[in-house]
Symmetry: D2
Subunit: 253 residues, 4 copies
């Protein structure tokens, strides 16, 4: 049974900041956002978690293994090094979507994302270490079958991207609605999802749906672990097996 701990990361009052006193240079905003994401990847990743860039101003993390003190240090470290601050809200659930809903509600209750006086909120509860298990996190790592041969080396670079993007848009919606899973594009032709306890059939149905709706053929490796890193590495290895054996769904336990 999965028990995913999800953290919502929100840059405080970011929209207004980007245009005050007048619009800031786009290249600086892009640099700021992507470096903040890189730093959070390291800060959370050092402790076994995964962060996804999502919208950059709102990022979603799988944080099993990080307690509230870890969150506090990460929040402080960002505050010490960036012109913006972040709020963090932590919640847990069998389904990642339910956990994220809880985390979001807590943060919304503390004030609007564009409330000037709402700064560095740190809300929620991490899983007590005694309650953690080796099956808390299920990570699915999808990629596009022969993306390089079918797209990258054939179409122009934007048309390749359109295909991958349409595939992602279809998958993220389906996985959310049917499975309460959260799926994130992570670059190249890769999508990583944090999932509840799903079966091979459920993954196959998702892949079939994307083929039907967006005409993009996916493959998936699935890993289960104590934290996102453990589950994610197993998912990567499972995906390598799927690639080698030309199968669509592989689990590694």
């Amino acid at each position: 049974m999965t028990n995913t701990q999800v953290t919502l990361v929100q840059i405080d009052n970011y929209g207004p900041w980007t245009v005050t006193p007048e619009p800031r240079r786009e290249v600086d905003l892009q640099t700021l956002q992507s470096r903040l994401y890189a730093d959070l990847s390291q800060l959370v990743g050092d402790r076994g978690g995964y962060v996804f860039f999502t919208r950059f101003d709102n990022m979603i993390a799988v944080t099993n293994g990080l307690d509230m003190d870890d969150h506090a240090v990460i929040q402080e470290s960002v505050g010490n090094r960036y012109p913006v601050s972040i709020s963090l809200s932590v919640a847990t659930g069998q389904s990642p979507a339910a956990a994220l809903s809880d985390a979001t509600e807590r943060l919304q209750a503390a004030g609007s994302a564009q409330d000037k006086s709402r700064r560095e909120i740190l809300e929620g509860r991490a899983i007590e270490s005694d309650y953690r298990t080796d099956e808390d996190v299920q990570i699915a790592h999808f990629d596009v079958i022969d993306a390089t041969g079918e797209y990258t080396d054939q179409l122009n670079a934007f048309d390749s991207f359109i295909e991958i993007e349409q595939g992602y848009a279809a998958l993220m919606k389906y996985m959310r609605q049917e499975n309460d899973a959260l799926s994130f594009f992570v670059g190249g032709d890769n999508i990583i999802a944090t999932c509840p306890d799903l079966s091979a059939d459920e993954y196959e149905a998702a892949i079939d749906h994307v083929t039907a709706v967006a005409d993009v053929d996916l493959r998936v490796g699935v890993g289960i672990g104590r934290n996102a890193h453990n589950a994610g590495m197993d998912a990567k290895h499972a995906l390598e097996h799927a690639r080698a054996d030309d199968t669509k769904v592989e689990f590694l336990r």
Copy 2:
């Protein structure tokens, strides 16, 4: 008449590298990709251009004002600081999509994205300075009307993201197919497109299409300039006007 100079940036042999000798830690890949993007934003941005992260392993840049020597310095600087190298292919056209097709074909002709021996290709041609004009680049900056009130402060963070993502997937496809424009999600609720010479009506049609298909309401500011930075700053100011006056399409010239 626009004359967009587009550069395709491709990490050489990246896919194989990420799994050799075995899959690398995801947090390190995320850090590497987002920092490389941040550095390219600065390197290209210092010279008046824009880079979009696109798939991270394939990035697309608007590079009016950068000559081939500038491209060579950027390529060398990345090679000096990263464990991976990049290939660059430059082309120009009235339509950004046509320019990108040219650039892509040149790079594909030099070898596959996963060809081990294809490294640090530098192909194509930049616009001679005598031929540059103050109308070479048209940038459109879209955002979602009241995204914070409608989504961020209401829905859970992933459901907000689904809305924005579906809106983006619809817009990117429409703008490519109808207008030969290239549209990129840049974080938050923002999409930036590099466009040929489009009219207010054409932008309005795009916005209407997204409302119809994805039920997401967009607004757009448009700027025209000698390079991406000039056009993009005007687009930002135009978008501020659209926000203040509650209009859907604003041009700043």
Copy 3:
């Protein structure tokens, strides 16, 4: 009784790399070195340690609390993100200088710093957790009395720097020779030293020596703790007390 765990970080074969196939751009080398140091600061700092940039190609860290697995992850993470790799050698001793000598010898035994085939050495032993105590690390944080009033706002920026540099050169040599302590310039007018169990008198003698030799007046705050971060934060607070009370040596326990 202190028991300092010291890690020597050495970039593998760095000198030759910087001039192969011909000298690389200095600004890229500077960027590479300072970012690698920043990343190590975070990677080691997340686990309670301190890294000092020293010569940049050879860095020295106080790593109480990091086991060999932590070191392996740090080494792997650098290898995943930089064009160069690092070797790490870990040793422990009542005196930091003795610990560093052990660590250095192990690494030298594995091959020269400019040996092409010596890569990613991971040598030595970390303190078993059962043997760790709350007095393992003694950190001394020095600064220059009224550096801003005496130097920064008076002399030209280089002449100020000469004063601080001469003060540092005198202190680092004295502390090493008399006390087996390792002292590092950390920016501004700040010097941080990792020390064996020293008394207030010994610190006062060091300060007097620097005044006599280099005509620079220092002040010091000293902290003792389980790891560098704990000891270092106490040292900072002690220094604030010394500043407030206009004393020269303050301990916080």
Copy 4:
């Protein structure tokens, strides 16, 4: 005849910021400082200049080729991405030391380095392009003869560093007092100096002085150019020649 343009970069009110409301984590300060330096290296380096980290809170740059608009963009970009802002003061002179004195005085006149209300000063004058020549900048690149064999592979890592540091302290002081040149340690066993029009004899005298005072044997390559990058690359090549031919002073013109 050299005509060095020097820029003093000063973080505004940095000392007080590092301890307000209480001392900030040292690893975050180290990360902030070294990344700011890395970014300035790129921003200035993209335009042909060199920045030296010096004290990190006060950095010194050779900026021939950068006009005041370039400086303004750099200042704005830092302000957009860091929790601290920088002031910049630009001056020119046949001697780098005289230029830096001018730049420093201008900044001091605008307020103290620890004045809360003195923020983002941009002062001084850049050389008009018509007055620039190919001999404006003289860069000397020193290193220690057989540092790896004599020190790195023999002594412990701190004792090697003491040798190099004592050599640097001696050289920086001599070059400033005798030659009005500014010398900076740049990592490894390397020192880069920005110099007025010096002869081979003057460099030899400096090297002899360091051998006499600090018992460290240096070698130097000297380059002359229109900006720091051009002169610096020639200096590196000259140093390679000195190494190959086992000479002490080499010029490349």
